[in-house]
């Protein structure tokens, strides 16, 4: 996906938060990234470091928490675990599985000074 543009979004969210709850600098940023979201955590960390230079989040540590993939199979009606985005239902093998978790890309919280 677009780790660079996503890192810019993270920084925008941090700056928006600072307008509402002012702080001097950010120490840690916690992201929740679903395993089905096609975001590469290593690339995300790299881009975050590049994008935050000179900002209120310069030097902040980016912590990425994976969120497991789950889905609902429309064929057999079961809730199942998903390890890949287009995986077949592990119960019945059908392709029509609606993703119920694992697609997240969000800033969870910030540790600030």
């Amino acid at each position: 996906m677009h780790e660079m543009s996503l890192a810019e979004s993270v920084l925008q969210i941090i700056e928006d938060t600072a307008r509402v709850q002012p702080f001097k600098r950010v120490r840690t940023v916690v992201l929740e990234i679903g395993v089905l979201s096609a975001v590469e955590p290593e690339a995300m960390i790299f881009c975050f470091d590049a994008v935050t230079r000179g900002s209120i989040a310069e030097g902040a540590r980016l912590e990425i928490v994976d969120v497991a993939g789950t889905g609902w199979c429309m064929e057999c009606g079961k809730n199942v675990n998903l390890s890949e985005r287009y995986g077949l239902c592990p119960e019945c093998g059908d392709a029509r599985v609606e993703i119920t978790s694992g697609n997240e890309m969000r800033v969870k919280d910030l540790e600030v000074e």
Binding site: M1, R53, D66, V80, E104
Partner: protein, 283 residues
């Protein structure tokens, strides 16, 4: 994966004018330490969205030197929230005017612009229309549209590989859009990235040409799942190709069982009636 496409607003032109810029932040590359992704442990029990893996956790040796001076702020904001909010604004704009907005997506060279020109020629006297064109560079596509007498705005994304809702929102300001008009948005030729960016459209229409492979839907499932309609274009060339139409349509339905499919040729005109009827029903 687009880590180097520099998708920001730095070089975007809309109708020849610079888009509203975000402040550029350039920095020197310093040392970055990160941990390679470890193999995931056992999968979470179903229905508990357990957090199974943490990348870049605080190294054990480094303690917070001044714990009393830090606090946690709960944020819980989605990274694509900004684009989604702008898309919602666009969508409300279209709904208020009973407009149909279609987002045309495909690989480069599938025939989107030729198809649009043919479509517009056919509808010119029946409908008010407008086109937003997206390409990295040149005004070529917008000029082809304008030659038909229909208004078009060209968005040049510079390094960018897809249109986003913000760009479309700005382009709308340069168009006259009366009620019940039809807006065609021709996205940047790219079967990957546009799938993730809502522009506020009614739906995506994916154009696949018979000079591409039948397995395109399997290779680019995000896009074919995101589309409501697939136009199989350049069908006039079928006698000269080994393209298996049944296989291509089967592959598309495997990835998206609900996708509608119309076979046509923008050059010969075959199938155009079906496409025009689809547009009329969609409005």
């Amino acid at each position: 994966m687009c880590t180097t496409c520099g998708c920001g607003s730095h070089d975007v032109l809309i109708g020849g004018k610079a888009a509203a810029k975000r402040a550029a932040r350039k920095g020197t590359q310093g040392a970055v330490s990160y941990r390679p992704r470890a193999e995931a442990a056992h999968p979470a029990p179903v229905n508990t969205p357990a957090l199974i893996l943490i990348h870049n956790p605080a190294p054990a040796a480094i303690h917070n030197p001044d714990p009393a001076n830090t606090r946690r702020i709960l944020v819980e904001r989605d990274l694509l929230a900004k684009n989604d909010a702008l898309a919602a604004t666009n969508r409300a704009f279209f709904n208020a005017r009973h407009m149909l907005a279609l987002n045309l997506v495909s690989s480069p060279g599938s025939g989107k612009t030729t198809l649009l020109v043919r479509t517009i020629e056919a509808l010119k006297n029946k409908k008010q229309m407008a086109v937003i064109e997206g390409d990295q560079q040149t005004e070529n596509d917008a000029e082809r549209i304008r030659a038909t007498g229909v208004q078009a705005v060209q968005i040049n994304t510079g390094k960018g590989c897809h249109l986003d809702a913000g760009m479309v929102g700005q382009a709308l300001k340069q168009l006259s859009l009366p009620t019940e008009s039809v807006l065609f948005i021709e996205n940047v030729g790219n079967l990957v990235c546009p799938a993730s960016f809502d522009l506020g459209e009614e739906c995506k229409v994916v154009v696949l040409s018979v000079t591409e492979g039948e397995d395109k839907p399997l290779k680019y499932p995000d896009m074919f799942r995101a589309a409501r309609l697939m136009l199989l274009n350049k069908c006039d060339l079928l006698p000269y190709l080994n393209f298996d139409v049944a296989l291509a349509t089967a592959n598309a339905r495997r990835v998206n069982p609900d996708i509608e499919i119309i076979q046509l040729s923008a050059t010969s005109g075959a199938g155009m009636d079906e496409w025009l009827e689809w547009i009329a029903r969609a409005q």
